[in-house]
């Protein structure tokens, strides 16, 4: 298969099950809401060492936020409900509670709940106030600029992590251009985040390592500097590979994001030396979800 002259390899990208939640962070204006969202989703690129994967999903207009202020929706993904709750409470406590003028609300409904305000309220040292509005409990914690409002809990849902595609280009600059186009397009897709810096990872990993203490290590098959000393998967002429990683609430969300991203990369990439698109295929060892590139692009 080719798109715009770019080879789409007949392979699949592997992804794995996760659990996810969405939070809505509001603030006095967009600037502060975004600062809090960026801060709380920092150092959340991979569950391998960050505890969760997180990112800004989209902006929410004041008409659509619970308190009528500008909002940012963030998605957080983790491997278990317990770990997700730990990360949510820590990150909101350190990055949203601390950020001037912010409030935080649940961004999804569901049966399975994780703590939000119910844990953070203790910062109020007894001065916190619980209030039920429209059937939802909110905690009002006195802080130096007024009150921090946090909804009692948020829901979590089953999700999919690690959806991906790899951009293989003649040069690093060409790979970057293709990825930037892909990101611009994929950021318009709801229910997904791309947790790595700018949405892109240059240190794609394979499962396992020669060192027993490591569960993942560099994906040597895609490292151009190892082309002559390892079993490379890089086509001739490819000088750089970058990986776009996608977490989504459903398989369909990831498939949609992959499709949009690959099409955008191929549209821009041809002018910049993009040679091929492939998927992070680990021989079925990584995850139960397989996104076949040709099917995604049908």
């Amino acid at each position: 298969m080719q798109i715009n002259g770019i080879d789409i390899e007949e392979t699949f990208a592997e992804a794995f099950p996760m659990t996810a939640t969405r939070l809505i962070i509001t603030a006095a204006d967009r600037f502060w809401a975004l600062r809090a969202a960026e801060s709380m989703t920092g150092f959340a690129t991979s569950v391998i060492a960050c505890g969760c994967e997180a990112g800004v999903e989209r902006e929410v207009s004041p008409e659509r936020t619970p308190d009528g202020r500008p909002g940012i929706a963030v998605l957080l993904f983790s491997v278990s409900g317990k770990e997700l709750e730990k990360q949510v409470v820590r990150r909101v406590g350190q990055c949203v509670l601390t950020c001037p003028s912010t409030s935080v609300f649940a961004g999804m409904e569901g049966e399975k709940k994780i703590a939000l305000g119910s844990h953070l309220r203790y910062f109020g040292d007894g001065f916190q106030i619980s209030k039920i509005v429209a059937g939802k409990r909110y905690w009002r914690v006195p802080v130096m600029d007024g009150e921090f409002v946090a909804e009692e809990s948020t829901a979590r849902t089953s999700a999919v992590g690690g959806g991906n595609f790899l951009v293989l280009s003649e040069s690093l600059n060409g790979a970057l251009k293709a990825c930037e186009s892909a990101m611009d397009a994929m950021r318009q897709i709801p229910n997904v985040i791309m947790p790595f810096p700018g949405g892109v990872a240059r240190s794609g990993s394979k499962v396992g390592s020669k060192y027993k203490s490591l569960t993942a290590s560099t994906n040597d098959a895609f490292c151009p500097t190892l082309r002559n000393i390892t079993k490379t998967l890089l086509p001739p002429g490819v000088g750089a590979a970058l990986e776009v990683v996608i977490d989504g609430l459903t398989e369909a969300d990831i498939a949609r994001a992959m499709r949009v991203g690959i099409l955008a990369a191929c549209e821009t990439g041809r002018r910049h030396g993009l040679r091929a698109i492939t998927g992070g295929n680990y021989g079925g060892k990584l995850g139960q979800y397989h996104f076949h590139l040709h099917e995604v692009l049908k």
Partner: protein, 289 residues
């Protein structure tokens, strides 16, 4: 299908206790079984049919038709379904109610919703004393649910109220929110003093111009201070749908002042009010009808 209707017969058996005459209890009964249901009166037990004409219908919605001002505990124990009263009701309306919906087109006696725990109650007329307040012998009043009073509320509204929301369109007499434990009261019209005496927690939102005592400092409460809390927007947004249109315009006005008390009891209850009219906040405009 029409609603199950209980038509009040003229009677001289004194006050009746209608606890348990609610849709969730009548669901599995035949019309004949309903007619023989015992209800308590001042003169002992009496069958339902001696006091009401039973017109069978949809069991999810029970209609009481007639003057029930001598009937207490109307909708007592309601868990689900609707109870509609076409006329006034006596004391202890919706006692022990945990869910469902009650609408009273007339007025209600004393202790209305005093032990309400969930569901929605709307009273088109006035309510007597101790609405949403602790009933005799109880330490706490209303513990959940929503009470909307379109008329006025007599003394000691929400005294020792524990949880839930009360909205009053008309005037509120003295003693409102005394020893209030928690919950929310929205007053659309004037409120007589004393207000919030011994208040521990809870929120009172005054939409009418505040009494002079509040503006200058209510006994036991902190001096009013301007506040711009995002929480208020959440509350106002919800309240907007339940108050008269003129007051809806008031919601958008700023700034709000807040007093905390009753400090004599180490209380942290809060009274929100405004001193004067000011232009509506544009951010609230979209929610106003």
């Amino acid at each position: 299908m029409t609603s199950l209707t209980l038509l009040r017969k003229s009677s001289n058996c004194g006050r009746l206790n209608l606890t348990g005459i609610v849709p969730n209890k009548l669901l599995s009964l035949t019309s004949a079984e309903m007619e023989t249901l015992p209800i308590e009166s001042e003169h002992g037990s009496t069958p339902l049919a001696s006091q009401f004409t039973v017109c069978d219908g949809d069991r999810d919605r029970l209609v009481f038709d007639g003057d029930l001002s001598l009937c207490d505990h109307v909708a007592g124990g309601l868990l689900s379904g609707d109870v509609h009263v076409l006329g006034p009701v006596g004391n202890f309306l919706a006692s022990g109610m945990q869910g469902g919906r009650v609408v009273v087109t007339g007025s209600a006696g004393n202790y209305a919703c005093s032990s309400l725990r969930g569901g929605q109650v709307t009273i088109d007329g006035d309510v007597g004393r101790y609405a949403a307040a602790a009933a005799p012998g109880a330490s706490r009043g209303m513990a959940g649910g929503e009470l909307l009073i379109r008329g006025s509320a007599d003394e000691f509204l929400a005294s020792r109220m524990r949880r839930g929301r009360v909205i009053v369109h008309g005037t509120i007499s003295a003693g409102c929110a005394s020893r209030m434990i928690a919950g929310t009261i929205v007053a659309c019209s004037t409120v007589a003093m004393p207000l919030g005496y011994g208040m521990a927690r809870g929120t009172i939102l005054l939409l009418a111009p505040a009494p002079q005592q509040l503006a200058t400092g209510l006994a036991g409460f902190t001096l009013p201070e301007p506040c711009e809390l995002s929480f208020l927007t959440l509350l106002l947004k919800e309240v907007a749908a339940h108050i008269p249109v003129p007051q809806q315009r008031e919601l958008a006005n700023k700034p709000w002042l807040r007093s905390l008390g009753d400090r004599a009891e180490q209380g942290q209850g809060e009274i929100f009010f405004r001193q004067s009219q000011s232009p509506p906040s544009p951010s609230l405009e979209p929610w106003l009808r």
